[in-house]
Symmetry: C2
Subunit: 210 residues, 2 copies
């Protein structure tokens, strides 16, 4: 592969199933790379360093910031979260499309630095489905669910900043839809200027030489 | 279907196979509509009114212009060619994606009037293939082939104005690629603002009511 990978930013309401969707996508198609965030928050029981997150101390994280080795970072609830630059750049250079699961503010920062990035928003088919999925997790209290829905209202204000949306109704269909969507972005003229230039030159030669 | 159709403008070098590609696409997927141009040039032996073109007299054509019933038109070699508005609008209203095969100048006029239109350029895998395809037609003299290649050089100057390109190497693959590309455009946020507004309202209700 000599085509450069695409940076794909994926956001969506809590409970919409974007984590499952992206896991299925990367499992099915070998050439996606799922970016792993760095964070200073403590690992949970079932979490592993380098799988869910790169767990860092506050000092380590601030060093990453100082060395400009994060393409975006933010502070939530007293903890840092950020996207390591090296991994993202390496994977893109290898031609792999890199997926970042990130929230609106981070998405906008990415778009500033990488105007070519593809911003995807995962939608539930309707609000009822979203509320039901949050309930079905069973682990959240009524108050937490309501809080997440209030959060979703806030997040929905930024949806127009995204390029495309996926309605996550039936998982299999959504995986194919996301794949087709990302794949088709490789056909953008702006991503193929070298090819355009090359074929222009070649045709000129044939038009003279024939 | 309540989604509105997309206007797809398809261009490409003479001999690249865009006609075959679009015919296969519309035959395979029922919901595309191939726009038929109006022209004042005389029908050839194998051409039928309403199939290849709507054949018009000069007076009829100029009446269409006067009534603003063409979304673009141009004059080549003393004959008018144009795209009838009614058919395009009707099909889009019915949710069908409408395909226009048209050249650069026409494509740019369409983009002005329909900023949402999708501009596709069909490319050969390389210049040699293009030259070979022109020769293999067998009906063209060496001089005509050279003329078409010179024309291709000129046309290639406008490629950067298009949104996406398709490399027409293997027909079956290209048909699927074009289909996926057009289909994914329906997921653009800008084409789904009503849905975004609707879900925003619904989530607000749930966030309060739960």
């Amino acid at each position: 592969m000599n085509r450069r990978g695409i940076l794909v930013v994926v956001s969506g309401f809590s409970g919409v199933g974007k984590g499952t969707l992206m896991r299925c996508l990367t499992e099915r198609y070998g050439y996606y790379a799922l970016s792993i965030s760095a964070t200073t928050r403590a690992p949970r029981d079932n979490e592993e360093d380098g799988r869910e997150y790169f767990f860092k101390t506050k000092e380590e994280f601030e060093q990453l910031i100082a060395q400009d080795r994060l393409i975006e970072y933010a502070c939530y609830c007293g903890n840092y979260y950020g996207t390591p630059r090296d991994y993202v750049e390496d994977q893109m250079d290898q031609g792999r499309d890199v997926i970042l699961e990130i929230e609106l503010q981070g998405a906008l920062k990415i778009k500033e630095k990488y105007p070519d990035a593809l911003l995807l928003f995962v939608m539930p088919p309707d609000a009822e489905t979203l509320a039901r999925r949050l309930k079905d997790r069973g682990t959240e209290t009524q108050e937490v669910i309501r809080e997440r829905l209030r959060r979703a209202v806030e997040e929905s204000d930024g949806v127009e900043e995204y390029d495309y949306m996926i309605i996550n109704d039936e998982l299999e269909t959504s995986v194919e839809e996301v794949h087709n969507l990302i794949d088709s972005q490789h056909n953008k003229i702006s991503r193929n200027l070298d090819f355009v230039e090359q074929i222009r030159k070649e045709i000129k030669v044939f038009a003279k030489g024939e």
